[in-house]
Symmetry: C2
Subunit: 443 residues, 2 copies
């Protein structure tokens, strides 16, 4: 578990403020500790106070501008005026639940569902990715009569009680529960003959068998389709087809967690699963869905939803409220009008190329992986090539000193997690690559 | 279980639209069924399309105005301009998570926590009441090392997997899980010698013992402090003190679910537990917290939060975003500036009086219960006095024809659930009482 604990402590403010420190920052930190208590987690050795966001930039209280290559929620750009306008307009008009007919909600449902392949025609709206995954697990359970799930070793799927169990990256002091089996992330570098499709699907089959033999049964596989917290594993496109076949053969349900890759980030259509040319049984959404307005959703087939609704009621008070629908509709329109999927592909490949060039220049860079505007850069010990979370932490904090924001991911916490908003251009990519080059040179 | 199923089917559109019906409404209903599938639940025999809300009123697509005595989320009034302004302003400025310092979030936390008694000094922000209760259960489990919870028979606490288990009103086809014990709602009419404090606390003690003997242990009691879905049980104020003592004696944690009574609805301060003069270990919030902006929260003691955070990480991406904080801050300010707690008490007692007068006039009315602007009116068979969910359904649909919105609650689904926004005045109360009188006269 120590590797996983490492991720949790990565890039985290230690939380100690000397009594003698009378600075404004120290005062703010003490007040925050007094209110949020031990649940308060702040980024960076010296936390930042943010006051404004615009496009790809955040501004701190001193007016300093940060290039945001980290935050994947404001995916069409911080405070996008069309999303803000949609929220403001609808909030002044009507904000109510789905037990009345409300046109913006129905329009949104139809527009969103039109982006999914044919059998996925039903939508349940929630407020968060966590609620979406929590519901998806139960739909899978009711469809299969089984309780067991297979997840990747450093997976993160959210924060409810049920979803924490399928998120090994959150479990500090204990092994996963008895109904969970973990498998290695689909890292092409670790796969025999580089055949990640074969090794990943073999692992699924073996884990599913274990669950069946243990008596809990195999309800399904849930994966983030770009394996964000496992360190970003995207290639080769198509490797999830074999995984889907393995899941089906073992009698389970395939849940595609699109909370991070969804809404165009991979540059290959709106959905990470589509990049692999496969069809999940259930798709879950969250984070960028409303560009920061709290909303999530589950898309599935009517037969699966019917079975679940026959046994359990589900209603979400805020889920599908018209303000969320207006925000979500604006996000879909902006993605289309501004050509953000194509931009993610085009600018993403320029960024990937620049990072691979840096990889050739610096022995501290190991593998560089990703798709569209979601890229992982492994930082390693230059001698042994071993994962170096310490270097990742140093790079993250040094980049911040150069006004650039990134984070870390992966089982060892040594993968730089690079996720700018989908609206960035070549200028931002150049700024970022220059900053990273400077930081690596200075180490 | 049939009684509980009755609640679920109360005031629910049957969902059948004849193929031959080519009306606009029929078309809308078919489209909605096509997108939301079997999760689509609409109110009323003939559903309403809403397009606008203002103060205590909702407006349908034909311009018809409905007096809203049902919806308890837009608690300071539909689309309150100060809340809308706060949301619009902050959404244009910055919308980010709590891993940076963000002043509106810290200001909100301090202002909210100032309304709680001293030992309750820590806040965790979530997005929904469901997420709040899901987290509260885990805090109670980590504090006690036990897994068992006691809940009331028709309780509703939310929609996650874990919270559905403590919400018997949602379980259609099965008995509660092995770690749950249900007890009768604290109905003063059913208590021996009318001593509801004694009977309710005895039931808690017995259920806690059962859980201990069953080996799961007693983690705590969770109750909505006005027992909304159990039919609204508010009196006598103070009866929850004995319950709290029983919970403590049995080694459990008292979770006060303030999702429905909270933020002033009972007219006796902001919190339902305060009306009982007792101190919970954990308080959960949701629905009216942002007047419709999706937000929730958990308030507890630092010792309990520390124990939980030592074993499990908790982070909520949208929880505590600055737009939610701005909405929440505006709600607290409006409650104070407009004197809404006092209004809930004053107007609530006028409403209660009028309903009790109707109770004397109509034998179809049984008990009338409530506090502030949350009142339950039992509808019964005039001959036998038995619960009459059919009459409740008839009254709800007839009131809707008179442009008044209410709902139903209670184990038998025969309790009118009356919850206007806290900003209503004598005029709205008169309109409502007149409408209810007309409807009862016509039956």
């Amino acid at each position: 578990m120590s590797d996983v604990r490492q991720i949790l402590s990565m890039n985290r403010f230690a939380g100690e403020v000397p009594d003698a420190d009378a600075s404004d920052l120290a005062d703010r930190l003490r007040r925050r500790r007094a209110t949020f208590g031990s649940s308060s987690v702040l980024f960076y050795e010296r936390p930042i106070e943010m006051i404004r966001g615009q496009g790809a930039y955040l501004f701190d209280h001193g007016g300093r501008r940060y290039l945001d290559f980290y935050n994947n929620v404001p995916s069409v750009g911080h405070c996008h005026p069309k999303v803000v306008e949609a929220i403001s307009h609808q909030a002044a008009q009507l904000n109510i639940h789905t037990r009345y007919l409300v046109r913006p909600v129905e329009d949104y449902a139809e527009r969103l569902l039109a982006t999914f392949p044919a059998p996925l025609t039903n939508l349940v709206m929630t407020c968060t990715g966590s609620e979406s995954n929590d519901l998806a697990l139960r739909i899978a359970e009711s469809a299969t009569g089984a309780k067991g799930f297979v997840v990747t070793r450093a997976a993160y799927h959210g924060n409810t009680a049920a979803v924490t169990e399928i998120s090994p990256s959150l479990l500090r002091m204990r092994a996963p529960a008895a109904h969970i089996r973990t498998i290695s992330a689909p890292d092409v570098a670790d796969a025999p003959d580089g055949d990640v499709a074969a090794s990943f699907s073999r692992a699924i089959t073996a884990a599913a068998s274990e669950l069946s033999e243990a008596g809990v049964g195999f309800a399904g596989l849930i994966v983030d389709t770009i394996f964000s917290s496992d360190g970003i594993h995207a290639d080769p496109p198509g490797f999830l087809q074999a995984a889907a076949m393995a899941v089906k053969k073992a009698g389970g349900v395939f849940i595609a967690d699109e909370v991070q890759p969804g809404f165009g980030r991979t540059g290959a259509g709106l959905w990470g699963f589509a990049r692999h040319g496969m069809l999940p049984d259930i798709v879950t959404m969250g984070k960028p869905m409303g560009n920061g307005f709290p909303m999530g959703g589950v898309v599935t087939r009517p037969d699966l939803l019917d079975t679940f609704c026959d046994s359990t009621g589900y209603f979400n008070t805020f889920g599908g409220n018209p303000v969320a629908a207006a925000a979500g509709l604006a996000v879909l329109k902006v993605i289309e009008e501004e050509g953000l999927v194509v931009n993610a592909a085009t600018i993403g490949s320029i960024l990937l190329e620049k990072l691979r060039e840096l990889g050739k220049k610096y022995t501290r860079i190991g593998a560089v992986r990703g798709a569209g505007l979601f890229i992982g850069v492994d930082l390693v010990d230059p001698g042994s090539g071993a994962p170096s979370p310490g270097t990742a932490s140093q790079v993250i904090n040094s980049l911040k000193e150069r006004s650039i924001l990134v984070g870390a991911a992966g089982l060892h916490g040594n993968t730089l997690k690079i996720r700018p908003p989908l609206c960035v251009g070549e200028q931002e990519v150049a700024l970022f690559a220059e900053g990273l080059n400077d930081v690596l040179q200075a180490i």
